[in-house]
């Protein structure tokens, strides 16, 4: 018979990350930055039990943590994906403040969180999941946002797409700033891949010029979604 102690050992074995693996993180720069960002607000004196949770400050704090703790944790997590939410077969994911890359089935799905970030951050994220992918985001007119303007290397059905960042319906061709660029790359792709993809231009920013050999934008609308 499997007894309680045996059960506990087996379940414990499913947790690939333990508190000890995170030792020392509490005094790391990102953890202290998070603490500071939390204490910017005046302390509360509510004594009621937590029920409905406010949304305010969520994304700001994510950024505070994203740069450092996430990197450290990702290094730990890559050793063994977490079983509870990830499920079997989830290989790797990586996120920094600029991009999130996640394996979903047979493709890596990259969501650009900061289209103005240094493209080294995108390279870093793809590198972490074992892909040699360089993405350059260049300012383009709204109708070209999310379009691949140049691509080299890679095989299979690469796609780029823009989807509303929030839950509200948005026409991304009209309001690209309210949308997130999503890039899908087949997991089995190997070798070096280089893309140039259109992003929304900042106010007053000059559009990118086609200076090299480029593939014309697709005519049949944006793939995927």
């Amino acid at each position: 018979m499997i007894d309680a102690a045996d059960i506990e050992r087996r379940v414990a074995g499913l947790a690939r990350l333990r508190d000890e693996d995170l030792a020392g993180l509490e005094s790391s720069a990102p953890a202290r930055a998070l603490l500071d960002s939390i204490m910017v607000e005046p302390p509360g004196s509510q004594t009621t039990a937590p029920s409905r949770l406010p949304e305010r400050g969520w994304s700001v704090r994510r950024l505070a943590l994203a740069g450092g703790v996430v990197t450290v944790m990702t290094a730990a997590l890559v050793l063994g994906p977490i079983v509870l939410a990830g499920g079997p077969g989830v290989a790797t994911s990586y996120a920094n403040s600029a991009i999130e890359v996640r394996r979903e089935g047979n493709v890596f799905v990259a969501r650009i969180k900061d289209p103005l970030a240094d493209h080294a951050e995108y390279v870093e994220a793809f590198g972490a999941v074992g892909k040699d992918v360089d993405i350059e985001l260049v300012p383009v007119p709204p109708a070209l946002v999310g379009q691949r303007l140049s691509s080299a290397g890679g095989s299979g059905a690469v796609s780029t797409d823009v989807v509303p960042t929030g839950s509200a319906p948005v026409d991304c061709a009209v309001r690209p700033a309210a949308c997130t660029l999503v890039i899908r790359i087949p997991a089995e792709t190997s070798g070096k891949i280089h893309f140039i993809v259109g992003r929304a231009a900042r106010p007053g920013e000059a559009y990118w010029h086609f200076t090299g050999p480029v593939r014309p934008p697709r005519e049949s609308g944006r793939p995927g979604r």
């Binding site: 074995g13 994510r62 994203a66 944790m73 939410a85 996640r102």
Partner: protein
């Protein structure tokens, strides 16, 4: 004000890795885990007057993190559920390897197939090292209710493991655990 600041800083330093670990063991990505930990501490600061003293603070934080996690999951649930369901389908169709037969893969599959409430209490014991009384404080239920939930969850997992052909004690003999 200064007292509150000092108290919160001490609480944060003492429990940061525990709260982050709690989140990381239950999130699909490290970024989600960081989000959950950050929001948990933000709530603790906003409700610092409600945070109990001593080790009870850690249990209180687990309770908050649990709510944040549930909230967070609801937001991203639709897409991720589909992915998880697809992954589960794949796992079912994939013939078990010799490694799976050795124990861990099967244990993980059986564990994941348990009801959420069972996984919750079993993981609070095995991952956070809590006893029934402490689980009761995290879940906001009576000690007796927690004990009954735990007992039933253990019984279901033991039954399902046996049904999956996992022999008793095989993992204990293989060593390598704390």
């Amino acid at each position: 004000m200064d007292d509150l600041t000092t108290r919160f800083e001490a609480l944060y330093t003492a429990t940061f890795t525990q709260v982050l670990g709690f989140a990381a063991r239950r999130c699909g990505s490290s970024e989600d885990a960081a989000d959950v930990a950050a929001e948990t501490f933000a709530i603790a600061w906003r409700r610092i007057g409600a945070v109990p003293a001593g080790d009870d603070a850690r249990l209180w934080l687990y309770g908050v993190a649990r709510n944040v996690l549930a909230n967070h999951r609801r937001k991203v649930a639709r897409r991720q559920d589909l992915n998880a369901a697809l992954a589960a389908e794949l796992a079912v169709r994939r013939p078990p390897s010799a490694e799976d037969d050795a124990g861990a893969g099967v244990v993980g599959q059986v564990f994941r197939s348990l009801p959420d409430a069972d996984r919750e209490v079993l993981s609070l014991v095995a991952w956070e090292g809590l006893d029934a009384g402490e689980i009761a404080r995290v879940l906001g239920c009576s000690r007796n209710a927690a004990r009954i939930r735990l007992h039933r969850a253990r019984r279901r997992l033991a039954r399902d493991l046996s049904a999956a052909g996992v022999p008793p004690g095989s993992l204990a003999m293989s060593g390598g655990l704390r």
